[in-house]
Symmetry: C2
Subunit: 436 residues, 2 copies
């Protein structure tokens, strides 16, 4: 099966563990059968390969997520990077062109498009395989997944099928309704729209060429920012009459808020957490190094990370967004293609960070105009290049770089460096890159 996973941003609804750089699908909130911590994207990838070991998995995403995806999944998946943010139709077209032109998937093969973060059982991915087979069989141009509703939700769109068969032509689509309307839809046999589509690759490429202006993947990538913002629903679903829906009955959750997120957690506490016996229905995710003690907490969610600490009544937590928008806090931790950094200390005229550089990786060769830097190697082995001079470095070695001096470091094994930045105007944008 060819599957495109759409990996978008979850924004701030799961603050402080999700932010502009890290989305909820990367939070390690699960434990797999081996007791290892697992993120949503790792869980979904594992489930797909359990169901279809030869699945061809492509993650369509923005630039900011690439390094985290590589860190969590390695080279096991294709990553199709959107150079800009457009809407879902250009994103799916880019991934389709990528599969066709870069990965040699033929126009006749079926492709399934699915969100990266459904919280589901393996049967869901079995259903995706069926959907792929349906699309390949060509009974309709578009094949969707319809999830049997468990309650009259206002959060989802609805699909009204023509009949109650497992596979049925679609009669009509309905936008997110109020509860009473949802009840009426369900009485008519409506299904939740799970945001999953399957089609033959050629079908979508034709649509792409109709609506967008490009020749091939490379060309679309290059001119991606000039494409119109248009949703897949508007561009394709609403124009298409040959649509069928596959009925799926099984657990399916959208972990978009702390409330639903905690319902899916395998344990009540992740990280250094103590809860007394009077805590009830309380979930804690602690990514900090210091312990959290909870006493008498009822129906609460606690999430602590380098960006901040949330302590909320579970129901109340769904109103988080405006509060987080109002909090101004610099990014204290980021994963990068070369490793990660953590801000340890910020003073008036200095900042101290810990840099972890993965084996074989290096920083850009760069300089800073307004700050000096001091590197102390604390573990691993590598080489520094400072103004053209290469030097082997080991734990205890110190490298000082005055403002203006060009420098980089190459990790031969995983390197950890304490970097002290010094200057009156320390700014993340004060960086000039050079060729080595």
């Amino acid at each position: 099966m060819n599957i495109i996973l759409l990996s978008g941003g979850s924004g701030k609804r799961l603050w402080p563990l999700s932010n502009d750089i890290r989305s909820k699908q990367f939070i390690k909130m699960f434990k797999n059968a081996n007791g290892e911590e697992e993120s949503m994207v790792q869980r979904v990838y594992r489930q797909i390969t359990e169901v279809d070991p030869s699945a061809n998995v492509t993650i369509a995403t923005g630039k900011k997520q690439v390094s985290t995806i590589k860190n969590q999944l390695g080279d096991k998946v294709n990553v199709c990077v959107e150079p800009d943010r457009r809407d879902t139709f250009p994103a799916i077209c880019l991934a389709a062109a990528y599969l066709h032109d870069e990965k040699g998937v033929s126009a006749d093969e079926a492709v399934v498009v699915c969100p990266v973060d459904p919280y589901v059982e393996n049967s869901y991915f079995e259903a995706l395989k069926e959907l792929s087979d349906l699309a390949a069989a060509g009974g309709a141009n578009l094949s969707l997944m319809g999830i049997e509703p468990t309650y009259p939700s206002e959060k989802y769109g609805y699909i009204i099928p023509e009949n109650a068969d497992k596979v049925s032509p679609v009669n009509t689509f309905k936008e997110k309704p109020d509860v009473a309307t949802a009840e009426a839809y369900i009485a008519q046999g409506a299904l939740w729209n799970g945001g999953v589509f399957a089609f033959k690759l050629g079908y979508l490429l034709n649509k792409a060429h109709e609506l967008l202006d490009f020749e091939n993947y490379y060309d679309l990538f290059k001119h991606y920012g000039e494409q119109k913002k248009i949703s897949f629903d508007y561009a394709v679903v609403e124009q298409e009459s040959a649509i069928q829906v596959l009925r799926y009955r099984g657990e399916w959750k959208d972990l978009g808020s702390w409330n639903t997120f905690t319902e899916a957690m395998d344990t009540e506490a992740i990280g250094k957490v103590t809860m007394d016996t009077t805590c009830v229905n309380t979930h804690v995710v602690n990514e900090l190094d210091i312990p959290i003690l909870c006493m008498g907490c009822k129906d609460m969610v606690v999430a602590a990370g380098v960006d901040g600490i949330l302590i909320a009544d579970k129901e109340q937590s769904s109103y988080i967004k405006p509060f987080v928008d109002a909090i101004e806090q610099p990014v204290m931790y980021a994963e990068k293609s070369w490793g990660s950094f953590t801000v340890l200390d910020v003073q008036q005229e200095s900042m101290t960070i810990r840099v972890t550089l993965l084996p074989g990786h290096k920083l850009y060769y760069h300089s800073h105009e307004h700050r000096d830097e001091v590197w102390t190697i604390v573990s691993g082995q590598g080489r520094t290049i400072v103004d053209g001079m290469e030097q082997v470095v080991r734990p205890g070695d110190v490298v000082t770089m005055a403002a203006g001096c060009k420098h980089t470091v190459i990790a031969d094994t995983e390197l950890q460096i304490i970097e002290v930045q010094l200057g009156k105007d320390i700014d993340v944008n004060d960086k000039q890159k050079f060729e080595l």
Copy 2:
């Protein structure tokens, strides 16, 4: 007025903001009239001097608190340091001998002894002045403060006065009772024992020489560890018949638990804290650099510091002790006579700390057997001495010290240093001190 403030440890009841090194009287939980944050000990000192600008204030305490007291009160108070932990009688005798032999207070002058942490109005300190005058007048050997009870508390001892006058001879003392007994005491006109005593200095010095073996302050200090552990109540109060009590009617709180502590807070939130409008009766003290967002918290206390994070129902928080005893967490922040240090990062074979050195102060001249160290000066000016070589240091300067090398640093202005420790066996006890 001569006043001795007894400053003991508050242990772990206010974890994570109190620990073995820092007691509750040093937590900055108040705001003074100028909007400056104020600790209990700063508040009490301010109140005493508002009532009696010429008060002679001596704080009797253990070694661990000296640097914090100096940091918070400077040289405005005398500090009488107990070289070991004995009980209250030797501690009060040591402070009495200190006043007599070191500060020239005559045997005929009155001295008031008071806990360092009552949460009270200024009228309380007016009453202490009256108590001092009563003691000086010599109507009894011991003058105590009796607080008019506001409810039948089980937490306090009771004083039964002979009559209802403002000053009355004491009929008898009662240990902490149960509620029913407390009600009966109160019906008889009983007062809470506030732990305040006043006496003529000579009276106490006589008692001291009767029961302890010493010649003068210096001698008592030197042989303090050999003195018997005996409480002031047992040694003095229970043997004395000439005791009077001064009745005090006013707010008086013992902030020994998070519940009472938060009742006394001037604001609901200290530090980077956001609370939504659905929070009710919730208090937050955040000493961390990252923001805390509280939503829908009811009757809760949240306290966050470098040692950990407490999130507790207020009532439940009184059962904190066994949970804190079970948490193993190294000290991440400590105030010292020379300044303070904060642990920024702990890795397998390295530890990074920020050291702040107060102007004019220096570290011991010392070496480490099992670790190398790298200092990066990030602010201030000073001098380092490494294996006898003195060097002026400024921001950006780096000093490397291999294991075995003797080193120190002297602050000419306030110095901030990032210290990276490197080695397989980093241990706070790996330190040899030398004469310079």
